[in-house]
């Protein structure tokens, strides 16, 4: 095969695939590879996908054949596809489905494609302990309790199992989405949300019922969760990241489904009740009195016969919850997230225990359809005074970051930005309590920190939603699950070193589509010529890789 300059893909020997967006066939190529290649970064002009075992197994789980993947690569590749990549795709794809888990009279049966694989797995250090009871040359009997851990071990051995053992039914729950919300506005589920829920449910077959939906921040993942609840129609446990998020779920469920408030229970530090729909946080589930003691609240998973467990922000799923999830493989499980990338690299556990990726939509598509707002990102570099520079220079490395982050000169710039966006709905987020307290005092805006009681927080958020407040100052509690749809300006005055996740989450706060279609503004204030600039650089790279345009502005000397 020669060079096809009109094609949009360049397949590299390391398994990465570059997609040139300006190519006439870019859109076609993207649609062809998205099912089996994970989007790694999507800066302007060229997007990078990667062919990984998980991305290929995800595609196989969705029913895509290996030959179709290879054909898609060949059809859209500009240069010949490296032989090793093609071979790798065929090899990896060929491994999926060669081990199948089915139900067998109260037990589970693990069937291997041939005796060679059976022998291999029966000798593998990780899988052998779950495959002791051999039925014949290719089949093993497996205890139902080992379903999750076996799947984890099989992924690690390179033979991901196709889990067709099905699910147990939970208690029935009559839940349906409203056509008109409680607040009176017309409500209809968006097409992509419907598709996502249906991809997860798979018409109730054993091939569906577990998996992850990947949607960008602000794309309405909660609605997908509600749609899944409607499809499953059974009692549901929702695990999320914070009390604020619980409040958001409650609000959405009450507003958009026929469930009544008393059908929704919260299992939190304050209330430990369960109901047909129970909302809880990862924090309470992973709480324990001492480092050595057990996690008492994990019993919640067994408190009811749950028909569906929803893992919100599944990329943050903590290790103990993974372990508990391993024992809950007979329950339908839905993961919701904006990114499959985990900082702890446990993507394989998400794949094995929660399920394969069932659906994703690139944020550009949603932005084009105005389902999420466009955003402009600006990094403002604020110089420090000579005295502060000297203080910075003499401090140790850790203290240096804080000195830079709390640069008082940021205050002036912040005031100017607030003036510039006097009409905007502004969130100011900072890492350090003293700093955000000082800012709140100076600009006269309410402050929400971890210490702020939940009721007070909700009051502040409600006032902001009603338009009574123009600006809120937040500590890092504002990073996650903060549903303030009208916020359109976010100014981060300090952040957690180079955390890319935090950067994405913060930006996500202002990506809800605005009624008037205005662009959101994301400002990062960093002290010039300091380590803060270096960390900001990493965070900035992450956002540019997500496709946001980024500007760097250097403020005048103080």
């Amino acid at each position: 095969m020669g060079v096809s300059p009109d094609n949009a893909l360049v397949v590299q020997s390391d398994g990465s695939v570059l997609l040139e967006l300006h190519s006439a066939r870019a859109e076609e190529a993207r649609e062809a590879i998205a099912p089996f290649a994970g989007l790694v970064k999507s800066p302007e002009h060229v997007h990078t996908y990667r062919l990984t075992p998980l991305s290929i197994w995800n595609a196989r789980a969705a029913g895509l054949a290996a030959a179709e993947m290879v054909a898609a690569l060949h059809e859209h590749a500009r240069y010949p596809v490296p032989e090793n990549v093609e071979q790798n795709v065929l090899d990896l794809a060929g491994r999926f489905g060669r081990v199948v888990i089915t139900r067998d009279d109260g037990m589970l049966r693990c069937s291997c494609g041939d005796e060679v694989i059976a022998e291999l797995l029966s000798r593998d250090r990780k899988t052998s302990k779950y495959l002791a009871d051999r039925i014949d040359g290719t089949r093993f009997r497996v205890a139902p309790g080992n379903r999750g851990v076996l799947k984890q071990a099989l992924v690690s051995a390179g033979y991901p199992a196709e889990d067709l053992a099905g699910y147990v039914s939970g208690d029935a729950l009559d839940v349906s989405l409203r056509e008109r919300t409680v607040s009176g506005t017309r409500f209809s589920i968006r097409e992509y949300q419907r598709q996502a829920a249906e991809a997860f449910y798979a018409s109730g077959s054993a091939r569906g019922g577990s998996g992850v939906i990947v949607l960008p921040c602000g794309a309405g993942k909660t609605i997908v969760g509600l749609a899944a609840m409607e499809l499953v129609g059974q009692t549901t446990l929702v695990l999320t990241t914070s009390l604020t998020s619980i409040a958001q779920w409650r609000r959405e469920i009450c507003d958009k489904t026929n469930l009544l408030p008393d059908e929704i229970a919260e299992y939190t530090g304050a209330h430990k009740s369960t109901g047909p729909v129970t909302l809880t946080t990862y924090q309470i589930l992973t709480w324990r009195s001492t480092r050595e003691s057990a996690f008492p609240h994990l019993e919640l998973f067994r408190a009811r016969s749950w028909g569906l467990i929803i893992y919100d922000e599944v990329h943050l799923l903590p290790a103990p919850v993974f372990r508990a999830t391993a024992e809950l493989q007979a329950r339908r499980r839905l993961g919701l997230t904006a990114t499959l990338v985990r900082e702890d690299n446990r993507e394989a556990d998400v794949f094995a225990l929660v399920g394969p990726k069932r659906f994703d939509v690139p944020w550009q598509d949603l932005e084009r359809q105005n389902w999420i707002a466009g955003a402009s990102c600006v990094e403002e570099r604020i110089p420090m005074t000579q005295e502060r520079r000297m203080e910075y220079a003499l401090a140790n490395r850790r203290a240096q970051f804080r000195i830079a982050a709390e640069n008082p000169a940021k205050m002036d710039r912040l005031s100017r930005l607030l003036k510039q966006h006097a009409e905007g709905r502004v969130l100011v987020i900072g890492e350090y309590i003293a700093q955000v307290e000082a800012i709140a005092r100076q600009i006269g805006a309410p402050l929400v920190t971890g210490k702020t009681p939940q009721t007070e927080r909700e009051q502040i958020y409600d006032r902001f939603r009603r338009g009574e407040l123009h600006c809120i100052v937040l500590s890092k509690v504002g990073n996650f699950a903060l549903d303030l749809p009208d916020a359109d300006v976010l100014i981060q005055v300090s952040g957690l070193f180079g955390s890319r996740q935090e950067e994405a989450q913060r930006l996500g706060r202002i990506l809800r589509p605005k009624a008037d279609g205005r662009t959101a503004h994301f400002f990062t204030l960093v002290s010039r010529d300091t380590r803060e600039e270096d960390f900001a650089h990493h965070r900035k790279l992450f956002l540019t890789e997500q496709g946001y345009s980024y500007q760097v502005v250097i403020a005048d000397e103080p």
């Binding site: 360049v10 020997s13 390391d14 040139e20 800066p43 500009r78 790279l541 345009s549 980024y550």
Partner: protein, 636 residues
Amino acid sequence: MKRYDPDGRIPTLEVALTEHMNVDQLKKLAKHTNQKIPTRKADIAAVVERYLDGDRLKSVWQSLDELQRAAVAEVVHSSSTRFLADRFAAKYGRSPNWGITNKYGYRRNPSLLAFFFYGGGVMPDELKARLKTFVPKPAAAKVKTLAELPAACELPWSRWNPKTRTNEKGTEEVPLTVHQTELTAQRELLSVLRLIDFGKVAVSNKTRRPSAATIKAISNVLEGGDYYPVLPVKNKWHDENAGPIRAFAWPLIVQAGGMAQLSGSKLQLTKAGRKALSEPAAESLYTLWSKWIDTTVLDELSRIECVKGQTGKGKRGLTALSSRRDAIADTLAECPTGAWISTDEFHRFVCASGNDFTVSRHAWDLYICEKRYGSLGYEGGEQILDERYLLAFLLEYVATLGMIDVALIPPAGARYDYGGLWGTDELVYFSRYDGLRYFRITALGAYCLGSETGYQPAPVETKPVLSVLPNLEITAIGAELDQGDRIALDTYATQVSDLVWRLDRLKLLAAVEEGRSIAEVHEFLSARSSVAIPDTVTRLLDDVTERSTKVQDQGLVRLVECADPALAALIANDSRTRRHCMLAGERHLVVPASSETAFKRTLRELGYMVALGDVKTAKPRRKGSARKSASQSVGA
């Protein structure tokens, strides 16, 4: 008796007839006068003289045929009085009629042309002056050009057929490969300079020739590789590979041109070389050509390895390099630009145009295989030598510099003219340049040769081969990336996958430290990027530019420790010593190396001196490593 004339000139017709001819020759010549021939030599000479006297000379000249008149005209209008037979034959394709000889070439009955040349082809000065008044100037020599380059060369072959027991003969068509060099050379020069800058070019410190590894590295940056691809070797006795040509030439060319110089075993760019990186490559090539003409860094003949004796006795007979190169360059300058010329025709033209040269004054000392039997002094050897030198010069240097496009066939079997020489049976080719069949002068060549006064360099085509992305990545998916660009990218950024590089501050700072400028990086990216340079990249480059000048090297200093802070402060503030030192910490002073003597002197005036203290040495990095110098000098 013949008079001795160091110039071989003959002043008058009378001298010519009386001193350069014998009676027998005079009689044969006098026969053409149709007069009674006396017996005494002086009388016969007088008859001939009378015959050519006054206007009769013109009528004799008029009775010559066209070729004979051309022979007369060539000498009459040249600076010499000698008839140059080889040059004439090269120009007119044959020799003029000198008369009829016997089968051994002796006892000639001269033609009328013999009235004009005596003593082995010399025209008497006096006769020349008279002829000049009416003999028209001969036409200048012309080189024959091809209307169209043939697609293939027809080569004769012969082989013994054991069945029929006959020697079969035929011809085969060998396709020509054309190398257009004008733009390639400009890009290759930059690639080679970058390679040198990257420390990848090692040469011998004696011969200045590139090492095998260097040749390989340079071959990789040459567009489309060297002229000939590497062929599998059938056996060690029959290797048809031509070996490196451009890859061999470039390091020598840049050394001769003063753009690179040896530092250890590696070449490093000189100021001129670094300047050439940012200048139009055509100008650099012009400079390199001018310098190559006079260089003695290499005799192109040495690249024809089968010719032995070049470093021994034969070396003494070799002519000056510049004279050979000048002769070829002058001839090239007379060739039309853009027209294909066969190398055989060019060799003829070198001779015909009066620019003929010879490689050796004494070809007997050069030989193939064996000194006596294989000497190149035997008939034909000298011409082969000159011709091969011409091919070597054209292909390895003129073409490499982008001055001529070349059409090649593989060297093995390309020419059989050396078949008659002793010791050549096992040679697959006489020289690796044997395959050069045609060339044409490029616009750049015309400029370098002085045929054109100016050269509008076709801008070196910078295709939008890169996409510079906001996340500081550079992807090379636009078109195939040339090796020079690849090297530059490796210098400025870190390669993360086959076609992706990432800019980072560390790498850029290292590049700046090595003498590159960030403006150069920006220019490089802008010229090749298919999209606008993103703000994040511009900012990174600006940051590096700014930071690269914030800490400056001010030279070496000496660290001096004082007994107590008060003494250090005293010295640092004293009007005599303070100009020569600075306080560093509480008890230490730094003294710039340039002020060391003055500091010591003024310190003595202050009543102190610098005693040798405990020298602080750096901790050895690992066990067994050499201890650092015991000097207390530190960099500022």
